[in-house]
Amino acid sequence: MSQKQNLYGVLAEFPSAPSIYHACEKVRDKGFKHWDAHTPFPVHGLEKAMGLKASIVPWIVLVMGLSGAAGGMTLQWWISTQAYPLAISAKPFFSWQAFVPVTFELGVLLGSFGAVFGMLFINRLPMWYHALFRSARFEKVTDDKFFISIEARDPKFDATATSKMLTELGATHVELVEQ
């Protein structure tokens, strides 16, 4: 029990993209929930192998982008027709054609903010501390090694069984990681 308290989970190292790809398929089929794959680069199609749902980032961007554009046009409308309407080159106070560029730019700006900060938010980043960083081998995850981590809080988790399973799946090295 006490050991289970501060156990984060099990970390398994794989040598190559294909090997982790197949391992993930198996882990997915075993029905684990709280687990993850760690790779130095986005391995093509791994999300399918892991059975992950599509990202919601696009929706955030859409909302932000539209509000940016709308806000931009509104601002310009308010300034040039409500706040202080000035006769400029005898142009109409609300010369919307001239307001398009700024509207567009603000749309793009807020859209990009949505993309970047939305992504970070969903990924719970920045998160400078993480249990996996306790593992020395894990440093290779940003170089040329591939990992699967299964968290202890997963109902199907069992320190020994899960480790064994991962070894069978072709892990070159398996270790338990402290909380």
């Binding site: 202080y84 006769a87 980043l125 920045p126 998160m127 400078w128 501390y129 306790r134």
Partner: protein
């Protein structure tokens, strides 16, 4: 091995996410208030070389503003009275008072009294008293209750935005022509209605809102 960053650092993002907006709003409202003429200019009441009390002269004795600031209806500039105006009375009244020593000296030597300017407009803003007074803007609208001030201070921000407020809707600040120097006069209480005032031919004042109305 031990990670570089301790566990608590994970709380930083949350704190920043909450803190940043608060700080931002704080700074904005700080600048908004403390950098505006409402704060920087209003209430400026420098010490004058002669302790002249408007409260006494304009208030208690009820002298008309125009007795001293005589050019206010004719010129852009509401003239500061020449020393001789003061001496008009003070050669008899309070003739010996030490507080008036400077005035008497000035009268003798011909050296002007160095009053400190209170209501300062920037050089690039042209203000004309005659037209404002002429249209029936009460002195109080811009100068406040001078008649209650021992030492004159600035009552209004005199900022461009403040000017525009009135130029966009002057009517609340208009009083009957015979009341312009009556600082206590309140058009609302007195039930004064500009549009039914028979003494006004022009109902549409059209105060300038374009740049060259004031900047040239």
């Amino acid at each position: 091995m031990t990670p570089i960053f301790p566990k608590w650092t994970n709380r930083i993002p949350t704190l920043v996410a909450i803190g940043a907006p608060i700080v931002l709003i704080g700074v904005v409202s700080f600048v908004w208030y403390f950098f505006s003429p409402k704060w920087t200019d209003v209430g400026y009441s420098p010490k004058q070389p002669v302790a002249f009390s408007h409260q006494l002269h304009a208030g208690q004795m009820g002298m008309d503003c125009r007795y001293c600031h005589s050019t206010v209806e004719r010129a852009a500039f509401a003239a500061i009275p020449p020393t001789e105006t003061c001496m008009g009375c003070h050669s008899m009244v309070q003739a010996k008072s030490p507080r008036l020593q400077l005035v008497r000296d000035s009268y003798k030597t011909g050296k002007p009294i160095e009053w400190v300017k209170v209501h300062m407009l920037p050089e690039h803003a042209a203000f004309n008293h005659s037209i404002h007074v002429g249209q029936g803007v009460n002195c109080v609208s811009c100068h406040g209750r001078i008649d209650q001030m021992k030492v004159v201070g600035q009552a209004e921000p005199l900022s461009m935005g403040w000017c525009l407020d009135c130029h966009r809707n002057p009517y609340p600040n208009l009083v009957p022509k015979d009341q312009i120097t009556n600082l206590a006069y309140d058009p609302v209480k007195a039930g004064y209605d500009f549009f039914t005032d028979p003494h006004r031919q022009r109902k549409d004042l059209k105060p300038p809102q374009h740049c060259s109305g004031c900047h040239y």
